[in-house]
């Protein structure tokens, strides 16, 4: 067992899923011979052939729409949208069709599809390549939304997403594709889609995040220990359906909550978490709920991208504000 990057873990999960289930097919732009612009599908076209892995013309809405047709026919399409900034044209298909095909037909037709897409910034990419629209998908009934934060979790969550009988939007943190390394056992074990993950226990403040922002969040937790603040860190991982209990239980014993995300603050998924705690967990709160998030601006061009991205310092400051609160 050796250390692999997050993108390699994705690749392992795809290979495993295709091996165990002939209904799994991959489609998207450049996923074939080229193995995907980030190499997530590397080698799969060569090993499984053109009937299991196919390049599509440049048309994201149709990639989603064709996946719906394939899924309704019993295939398990895993489609790649090259960057999440180009997935906005898929929202109509996801919202008007994938998310409600089962309900519209009383279960007669279903949509077991996965729409994968690299998301998030911090890679100094050209404009439109650093988007974090997870909240939009999480607002869509009938859809599941998953965001891994490490190679091992990427492997297990993607396997579960592909095996799930319903449509899953699977957002892969581009920033972690090569940066994150971890030993991953290719054992075919999925990770349940109905639970958040506790990454670090702590008594003083609960830090909740997902995807690449857990890097800053965990670093912040480390720094806080220097000031004798023990932060508990939760990786939401599955934004929809949301496991509120794990978060509520944590806040119940820490009394403090900081939600960290990269998407713009307003209507980001942090708002949903804050709202649930402000409803069910309010009596356990000892301080205002803090959201450390991207600003309500577009992702700036690379030269000033760093201004936008939530930093370790901002997370630490947010946590301290909750501690300082009397």
């Amino acid at each position: 067992m050796s250390e692999v990057s997050l993108v390699k873990a994705i690749n392992l999960a795809l290979r495993r899923a295709m091996t165990e289930d002939p209904r799994v097919v991959l489609l998207g732009e450049d996923v074939g011979v080229n193995g995907g612009v980030f190499r997530a599908t590397e080698g799969l076209f060569q090993d499984f052939g053109p009937d299991r892995v196919f390049d599509t013309p440049l048309a994201e809405a149709a990639i989603a729409g064709v996946s719906i047709g394939l899924a309704a026919q019993g295939f398990r399409p895993v489609s790649e949208i090259q960057f999440t900034g180009f997935a906005y044209t898929c929202i109509d298909q996801l919202l008007n069709h994938a998310g409600r095909m089962r309900a519209r037909t009383c279960g007669r037709l279903t949509c077991p599809m996965v729409l994968r897409s690299p998301a998030g910034g911090g890679i100094h990419a050209i404009e439109h390549h650093s988007e974090s629209p997870e909240a939009m998908f999480a607002h869509t009934p009938g859809i599941k939304v998953v965001i891994p934060s490490s190679p091992r979790r990427a492997y297990g969550l993607l396997l579960s997403a592909i095996r799930d009988p319903d449509p899953v939007v699977f957002l892969e943190p581009t920033r972690l594709y090569r940066a994150a390394h971890e030993e991953v056992e290719d054992d075919g074990n999925g990770i349940s889609l109905d639970r958040c993950a506790l990454l670090r226990p702590g008594r003083d403040v609960t830090l909740v995040s997902w995807g690449s922002m857990l890097t800053e969040t965990l670093r912040a937790a480390e720094q806080l220990t220097k000031e004798n603040i023990e932060a508990e860190v939760i990786d939401v991982a599955v934004l929809k359906p949301l496991d509120s209990d794990t978060i509520l239980n944590s806040v119940a014993h820490t009394g403090r909550l900081v939600v960290v995300h990269e998407a713009p603050l307003t209507c980001g998924f942090g708002a949903e978490i804050a709202a649930r705690v402000a409803s069910r967990g309010i009596t356990t709160l000892l301080a205002p709920i803090e959201r450390v998030a991207g600003f309500d601006t577009m992702m700036p061009y690379p030269r000033t991208e760093g201004i936008y991205m939530p930093s370790v310092e901002r997370v630490v400051a947010g946590a301290k504000r909750t501690m300082a609160f009397a």
């Binding site: 809405a61 149709a62 064709v66 496991d243």
Partner: protein, 358 residues
């Protein structure tokens, strides 16, 4: 200047407006039973249409889109399909749905606002009607691709309107179908109008068939009021698709004799003279004249058929009206295969509210 490519769009008509054969009819048209089946299906559709509008006018059905005048398209196309093919229809193709085996009651339930109207026992793999115009075109390509990948000799049929041809989804779907040689036949039900937008303002294209040229797909036009011609060209395209020849597009030219839907008042934007002129072209009278001239049909049979159709429609309507709505909890039954915890709580709340204790 070098010439790189040339394209021709041609049109097929076998019966003229008076019901006279203007060309050799295909083999199936030599069989009176086949022709009678087509005729009966068009009449049943019209009977359903009439009843649906009556129910809507009296507040017992939702907004309804009539197929009046376009029955030959749905019937001709469905008659050309095999049961194992899959229909991916728009909201105006009751004729095709009925031929495929969707029941009158299921249609009433759908238009009455009940999801169970989409839970067809037969045809089990057909899609429910698509309301977001054109967005179902890529679904049909996916279905066709599934057939190709499994090596099945089946085809998908996607029907949409003239307005839908302006939608990006349709262009993207046509192009993908072309690249992948997917066994799908696209049918444009060109009824001349997209609500108040006339065909001429929808596109500067001379024909809508030529939309397929952009995708490198063979295309043709057919007289959509001539059910024999529609079935003939659709059968040819479907046989090709099942045999691996790839996709095709057929523009069936007909006319929307009704308002767009029961919520529309076409007199605001459309000249009645235009409508009455098109009544002379309509498909039911056209086939009837042919059958009568051929001595295959008489007034007694007509009478009997009309009664049979209205009886079936009345029974279905009664059974629909007697069907109680689904219980509150039902709206949570099929959101996901398994109800997530957070939704289970919402389900309890919905039930409590329905029982008057929110």
């Amino acid at each position: 200047m070098t010439i790189l490519a040339q394209f021709t769009i041609s049109s097929t008509r076998l019966l003229d407006a008076a019901g006279e054969a203007v060309a050799a009819l295909p083999p199936f048209a030599q069989d009176p039973k086949e022709l009678e089946a087509l005729y009966r299906a068009m009449l049943l559709t019209r009977a359903f249409d009439t009843k649906a509008i009556a129910l809507q006018r009296t507040g017992r059905l939702g907004t309804y889109a009539s197929a009046l005048g376009q029955e030959a398209i749905g019937v001709g196309v469905a008659a050309a399909m095999q049961p194992s093919d899959v229909l991916v229809p728009s909201y105006r193709e009751h004729a095709a749905q009925l031929w495929r085996g969707v029941t009158l009651k299921e249609l009433f339930l759908y238009w009455g606002g009940d999801e169970r109207g989409n839970d067809f026992a037969v045809p089990h793999e057909d899609f429910p009607v698509c309301v977001p115009v054109g967005s179902h075109a890529p679904h049909a390509v996916g279905v066709a691709l599934a057939f190709r990948l499994r090596g099945e000799k089946r085809a998908a049929v996607c029907v949409f309107g003239d307005g839908a041809t302006s939608k990006g989804d349709v262009a993207e779907a046509l192009n993908m179908a072309g690249v992948w040689k997917a066994p799908v036949v696209f049918i444009v039900n060109n009824n001349g109008w997209a609500i108040s937008v006339p065909r001429a303002k929808q596109s500067a294209a001379t024909t809508l068939a030529q939309k397929a040229i952009a995708a490198g797909i063979p295309a043709e036009q057919v007289d959509g009021n001539d059910v024999i011609a529609v079935r003939f060209v659709a059968e040819r395209a479907l046989e090709g698709a099942r045999a691996g020849a790839g996709p095709a597009l057929i523009e069936a030219v007909s006319y929307r004799l009704s308002d767009h839907t029961t919520a529309d008042d076409a007199s605001r934007y459309r000249d009645d003279k235009e409508v009455s002129a098109h009544w002379a072209q309509e498909p039911v009278a056209r086939l009837r004249s042919y059958l009568v001239h051929q001595g295959l049909w008489n007034t007694a049979q007509e009478e009997a058929l009309l009664q049979e159709c209205s009886k079936r429609v009345e029974e279905a309507a009664a059974s629909y009206l007697a069907t109680p709505p689904r219980p509150a909890a039902a709206i949570f039954d099929h959101v996901y295969a398994e109800l997530p915890r957070e939704l289970a709580e919402q389900r309890e709340a919905a039930i409590a509210t329905a029982e008057g204790k929110p």
